[in-house]
Symmetry: C2
Subunit: 443 residues, 2 copies
């Protein structure tokens, strides 16, 4: 079976234009193809944005970066093997990541292995103690507190809101960030205290917020303890020669007279070792004092040894970019495979549209309305693990049931090709069934 088999199935590619007879034949061929897949049941995983083993191995120098006691001593004379105040992390590490985060080292905190944990903790501190000194706890001001959630988005962001009873208000994405007319309208509500943003190579739509989007987010009217959760997880994660440019949100907020509005998060999870890397926070000096005062109650400080290892291996911003270029060489062919298969199997069919990411970890696939759950169920039965349909929306509900997130980073390129080809079959089965059902044919 080659990807072009599907194209041969009809004179026109647009399935909705086919006669019922031709559509039925097309569906039957795809069903037969699907049954063959299910019989083989080759396991594939397109679920999570997980680096491949080759990618994590790019950072294997971390394993031997700090092996002698002498290497454990930081430039400020402290021993990374021992208690060591500095709740913001090693100055060496803060300097290393400052350019990537777009803030001076004094306004950077480098933590343990999870930036999600830092986002969680900001929300918890704001809910229980107020988002700035002197402000009432979010939870005492409004029940429920509300967050704006550009959707589709990152399911783990939404899960934090769900856990703490924060009401999520979905906002449409435009390709250049969220629909700002909608956002400006909604953000005026004083119960709206936060907004999730993955501003570059967004998860899963891969879009980068435009300068206009950033400027409007920075200057719009909000409650004065409203915060942008700027999860810049893919800041240096390009798939093309010329990276997207994202405006510096801290600068934009300061220029707009809202210096404490944004909290910028970053991570090496998809730079060095996922889950054994470093998470970071950059924000205004006032916000940093606020965060550190609360965070120092939670912990004496982060693991500085792992920070030292990262400093030794990545060295500086140029080192990070050079390292990311090696990731790009491993990732780009997998993303190209997705495009090639989708183009060949689904191109022109009118039942699917997908993104062409210039960076990040995901391809976002929209199928006909009311078909996504069925596609994912078919895929699962054929051995392909996908993130559940709807998971990329607040409360797990995709109002049109059409979005599917594809994470092609972990499997080898040939497996990606086979898995996406199988997924395309599932899409064609589910959507032709839907088109036929719309014509009253359910068999």
């Amino acid at each position: 079976m080659t990807p072009s088999d599907g194209a041969a199935a009809a004179d026109t590619r647009e399935l909705a234009q086919l006669s019922t007879e031709a559509l039925r034949e097309f569906r039957d061929r795809e069903r037969a193809r699907y049954e063959a897949l299910r019989a083989r049941a080759t396991p594939f995983n397109l679920a999570r944005g997980k680096p491949s083993t080759e990618q994590v191995a790019l950072a294997d120098q971390l394993l031997t970066a700090v092996t002698t006691p002498a290497q454990c001593w930081a430039e400020d004379g402290n021993d990374c093997r021992n208690y060591y105040g500095s709740p913001q992390g090693l100055i060496e590490a803060r300097r290393l990541f400052a350019p990537m985060l777009g803030a001076p080292p004094e306004q950077v905190l480098v933590g343990n292995n999870s930036s999600l944990a830092l986002m969680h903790d900001v929300i918890v501190y704001a809910l229980l103690t107020g988002a700035r000194d002197g402000a009432a706890p979010w939870r005492d001001q409004h029940r429920p507190v509300r967050f704006l959630c550009p959707a589709p988005g990152y399911d783990r962001h939404f899960q934090i809101c769900e856990q703490y009873g924060i009401e999520m208000i979905p906002v449409a994405l435009t390709g250049a960030g969220p629909d700002m007319d909608e956002v400006e309208h909604l953000a005026a509500d004083p119960a709206v205290k936060g907004m999730w943003c993955v501003p570059k190579y967004s998860n899963p739509t891969a879009e980068t917020y435009s300068s206009e989007t950033v400027a409007r987010l920075a200057r719009m009217a909000t409650a004065d303890d409203f915060r942008l959760f700027w999860d810049n997880a893919y800041a240096v994660h390009h798939l093309t020669e010329v990276p997207d440019q994202l405006d510096n949100v801290l600068d934009a907020c300061a220029a707009a007279g809202n210096p404490d509005r944004a909290l910028v998060f970053g991570s090496t999870s998809k730079i060095t070792f996922a889950q054994a890397g470093l998470g970071m926070l950059a924000t205004s000096a006032a916000n940093m004092r606020w965060f550190v005062s609360r965070h120092s109650t939670r912990t004496i400080g982060p693991d500085k040894l792992n920070q030292m290892r990262h400093v030794m291996v990545l060295r500086d911003d140029a080192g990070i970019w050079a390292h990311m270029e090696r990731h790009r060489r491993l990732l780009a062919p997998k993303f190209a495979a997705v495009q090639e298969v989708f183009e060949s199997r689904l191109g022109g069919t009118g039942v699917a549209a997908w993104t062409r990411p210039r960076g990040g970890y995901f391809v976002s696939l929209d199928v006909l309305d009311a078909c996504a759950r069925r596609v994912v169920a078919l895929a699962k039965a054929a051995g392909i693990e996908m993130v559940p349909a709807g998971r990329t929306f607040p409360d797990g509900r995709d109002p049109r049931d059409r979005n599917i997130r594809i994470a092609p980073s972990f499997p080898p390129a040939d497996e990606v090709r086979a898995a996406v080809d199988a997924l395309a079959t599932c899409v064609l089965v589910a959507t032709t069934e839907r088109l036929l059902a719309d014509r009253g044919i359910n068999a």
Copy 2:
């Protein structure tokens, strides 16, 4: 100056028995001695329970424990360099620490570098989502929520309560744990949701809870979402040949029909690398499900590479005990020096009483009422850094202003000797001043 100089100063050692003239002479000699100290101003630090550089170096094998990619693969086939579910941590690490924590590996969670952070997170989850599934959030049930706080205790415990507006009720310690009559009386209040316990070699009093204390804590009447925060930070941190025995609180609670009452915390902060080690939680299966369901929202999981390093170096429970024996050889002479100096300078004076720890990190010194702050201020002016007086009590208020915590672990033994000798001088100056003031003499 030798420690016995002080003894020669009076026929009787009990200062309160001296004539006013003799007491004044004694005070003047100690004042002169103090002025000499202050003129030298040799900096000493007896403030925090920080392992010495020799102690952290005992674990230097961690630096070279995992240096090849092959060593990164866990027994369940997962790669510690990559994302890797298992929010409870590596099974190898849970098995390693299970005996120390007194729970089967299934009921153990091994996290990142801070057990304090795990305690903090349990409190936050309980405040915001309820201490068990189906229970109302603590914060919605009672304002304020209350915690029982055996005092003196660990200042960082109290700081968490302070941050979240939890009212702290101090409870006296008896030498075998908290005054249980008082605890049983107070715990019946439904607003009392938690109790801090450092049950072995307690911080700072060094006492170990007796079997009767543990049994009464396990069976006393409480709100059904009341929790014991069992910070067993010094579980294996002995200073003597024969370690204290502490009953297993999880077993005691289960036997008393309160299986979900206790959360046991442990840490390698004072076993391997402080701040680059591992924190742990052990509790009932139901509590573990409760905790993991919330904690997985905060983070995908802990750094497993550092867990693998610990497994490689410590290997098993016997390995932990052998390692702790090496710590004991470094620590015991420092604690002996404190005893020797205090005995010689303060013994029989009636103005000071101190603990003789069989384990842990602290010596607790009680001086005459209303003298502790003055002693610490004198010490500070002479270059000796101490934890602020009162800090070991809820809200930083020692009602009798008499307790001083001494942490002799970090400096070399000869420095400990000199620092404690200097501290004894400060004690004698402050207390003789107090005795004279009580006789109306303020000069």
